[in-house]
């Protein structure tokens, strides 16, 4: 029987400060073997710092980092079994694509024979469709090709964890969609453990097995994409996913909705807002404007002073200025401080 290599990452109570700024505050996080964890958060939430702490490019002020059960906190990057895809490609500009891909394998400590390196590089190049670019210098590539080389350089090795820092952010929309599928495939085929950072919710929803939402260095919530989307623990998490963003409306505008006593805000996703042309005088809102997206329309409805966005079929027959009734089908309730209030 072969011994499965456990590739589990554990961060225990990690805190990292840069001067007076707390980049990471008491972060505890586990990425299980074969998981694809996406860290989601706006700029400055500490996503990149988390990756750098795992890679060993930064050392934590407090806490421990464990890789495959081993405490690697004091170890330099080279001693840890990780690979890193940087946001800004960071290819070696004076080397060819081949040499860039071969670089991690040519570590003198590992002594991989050149024949084996060749096989591995060709394999990865084919996977990423850059086999015809191997002889090119890294600087002669387009942005998308460079990023694929950067990803390839991470894939030539089989580390316990792959770290990726917004690897798709500099690609155009079409290539980004392609690479999303590609990365997901790689994850499945290699059974790789991946810690991935992005502020793009589509990437998070489509690729992740788990999503962790960061806010100012704190891990707010972690769970499957479905859980994070359907069951957010506060308005911050709720706002991170969904496009258009979740509607947050004051509770008092919907006196008829049954809600827990502490609820101050009702959160409702666009697909959970039903609107109906008002037949009698009991209309609550008025259609302010309609965004045409091809297959669907986004309706912006004004209710008192707040706007609610909803999806609507093209042929619903609603036009700007119509008085409408609004029904919330799956409301979430939040307290005044933004925390979720559950009906019990």
């Amino acid at each position: 029987m072969t011994v499965m290599r456990m590739a589990e990452l554990v961060m225990e109570g990690v805190t990292k400060r840069f001067g007076a700024t707390v980049a990471i505050a008491d972060l505890t996080l586990t990425v299980g073997d074969g998981e694809f964890l996406v860290l989601l958060g706006p700029t400055g939430a500490g996503k990149t710092t988390t990756l750098r702490l795992v890679a060993g490019l930064e050392g934590p002020d407090v806490g421990r980092v464990l890789l495959a059960g081993r405490d690697v906190t004091p170890e330099p990057p080279a001693a840890r079994d990780t690979t890193f895809v940087f946001q800004q490609y960071s290819l070696y500009p004076h080397l060819t694509v081949y040499d860039n891909l071969a670089f991690p394998l040519r570590s003198p400590a590992r002594r991989v024979p050149e024949g084996k390196i060749r096989t591995r590089v060709l394999e990865i190049a084919q996977l990423l469709h850059i086999e015809d670019k191997l002889a090119n210098r890294a600087t002669q590539l387009s942005g998308g090709q460079m990023q694929r080389v950067a990803i390839g350089r991470a894939l030539v090795r089989r580390p316990s964890i792959y770290l990726m820092d917004e690897p798709l952010s500099s690609l155009d929309a079409k290539l980004r969609a392609e690479m999303r599928v590609e990365l997901k495939r790689i994850h499945r085929e290699l059974g790789a453990t991946i810690l991935y950072v992005t502020h793009d919710q589509t990437e998070a929803m489509t690729m992740a097995t788990h999503i962790g939402v960061l806010d100012q260095g704190r891990l707010v919530q972690i769970g499957s994409p479905r859980e994070i989307y359907a069951d957010p623990i506060n308005t911050y998490v709720a706002m991170r996913l969904g496009s258009p963003a979740i509607n947050l409306v004051p509770r008092r505008l919907y006196p008829n909705v049954e809600a827990p006593a502490a609820a101050e805000t009702i959160g409702v996703r666009t697909e959970h807002v039903r609107i109906r042309k008002s037949a009698n005088g009991g209309a609550v809102g008025r259609v302010k404007w309609i965004e045409h997206l091809g297959d669907q329309n986004h309706l912006h409805v004004t209710i008192a002073d707040t706007d609610v966005v909803t999806l609507c079929d093209r042929d619903a027959g609603v036009v700007v200025g119509d008085a409408v009734d609004v029904e919330l089908t799956a409301p979430l309730f939040f307290a005044a401080n933004g925390e979720r209030v559950r009906a019990n």
Binding site: P76, S90, Y92, H94, S107
Partner: protein, 320 residues
């Protein structure tokens, strides 16, 4: 007030301010003609100061003209001057001295300059202060440097001999840097290295600073040791800058004159007589103007040819 910033207003103003006849004349010109009008003064200066003397030198190099006898008849001598330059053992001795000087100054300055740049690039505490200190020699005039190193090299009172004797135990007056045939070539190499290593350091520093930090981070994650990072990233990426420094120093030192002339005047004998010093002797002490013109052209072609070959190599490295 905002009108002053409006480009149309500025143009209108310029049109108003131009005298009517001149404005008419300029308006009749094409863009190309106006462009030529603008660069004409520069071209005229260049022709007068660079191109004309060069052509005149080429002309003189085929004659027996002597600048101290302006009224003597000048006769064409064909390529005789070139033949005598290229067969003159003194010229070859000067070329050898120049080559020796070039080789060692470039080697020492590149190695020291790069090492210093590498150390300064670590940004230790006070690295800014040390950079300034290191740059001081470069800011001095070569004439000043030549003169005060003549004092430093004094066997009895000079600081250089004293320091050497302090560390090695050799009596300070037992050797003469400038006076001895064996040491004199090294005396000028030491001074030039002292003076110009900072310059090489600056260029190398620019090269090292141009390597983004994330490249090193990527290499660290890729498990490259410091040693490997140096050989496979730092050195190749800084190489175009190092080569540029070598080119600049090479061209500069090929025509080295002032410092060496003041320090050793080519002596003792002709051990430190670099090509430019020989040239000056032939031209302004022996007044063999035709001959020295031919010599100057030979030097020019040599340095131009070498520099061209070198620049080609540099471009290859840069485009790697």
């Amino acid at each position: 007030m905002m009108n002053a910033l409006d480009p149309h207003a500025v143009l209108d103003k310029a049109v108003e301010a131009t005298p009517a006849p001149l404005a008419r004349r300029i308006r009749g010109l094409s863009d190309r003609a106006i462009a030529w009008l603008f660069i004409a003064p520069t071209i005229a200066l260049l022709l007068a100061i660079n191109i004309f003397p060069l052509l005149w030198t080429i002309r003189l190099s085929f004659t027996n003209f002597r600048a101290n006898r302006p009224n003597a008849t000048v006769a064409g001598v064909g390529i005789d001057n070139y033949v005598s330059v290229l067969t003159d053992p003194d010229v070859w001795a000067a070329m050898q001295a120049t080559a020796h000087f070039l080789f060692w100054t470039i080697l020492l300055q590149t190695m020291l300059g790069f090492t210093l740049a590498y150390l300064i690039d670590r940004r230790f505490r006070g690295h800014g202060f040390w950079t300034t200190v290191i740059l001081i020699p470069m800011m001095l005039s070569p004439a000043v440097v030549g003169n005060f190193w003549a004092f430093l090299y004094q066997p009895q009172i000079g600081l250089f001999n004293y320091v050497v004797s302090f560390f090695s135990g050799i009596p300070p007056s037992s050797f003469e840097m400038i006076g001895s045939v064996k040491l004199a070539p090294w005396s000028i190499i030491i001074v030039d290295t002292w003076m110009w290593t900072p310059y090489v350091m600056l260029i190398c520093l620019a090269g090292l600073r141009s390597i983004p930090n994330y490249i090193y981070e990527a290499a660290e994650v890729d498990r490259a040791s410091r040693w490997r990072q140096f050989w496979s990233i730092t050195l190749p990426m800084a190489l175009p800058f190092i080569m540029l420094a070598v080119l600049f120093r090479g061209i500069e030192n090929f025509k080295m004159f002032d410092m060496v002339n003041l320090l050793t005047s080519g002596g003792p004998g002709s051990t430190t007589e670099l090509a430019s010093i020989t040239l000056k002797r032939e031209a302004f002490e022996k007044w063999r103007t035709g001959y020295s013109s031919a010599f100057a052209i030979v030097l020019f072609v040599t340095v131009f040819g070498l520099a061209n070959i070198y620049v080609k190599a540099l471009n290859r490295v840069k485009n790697r």
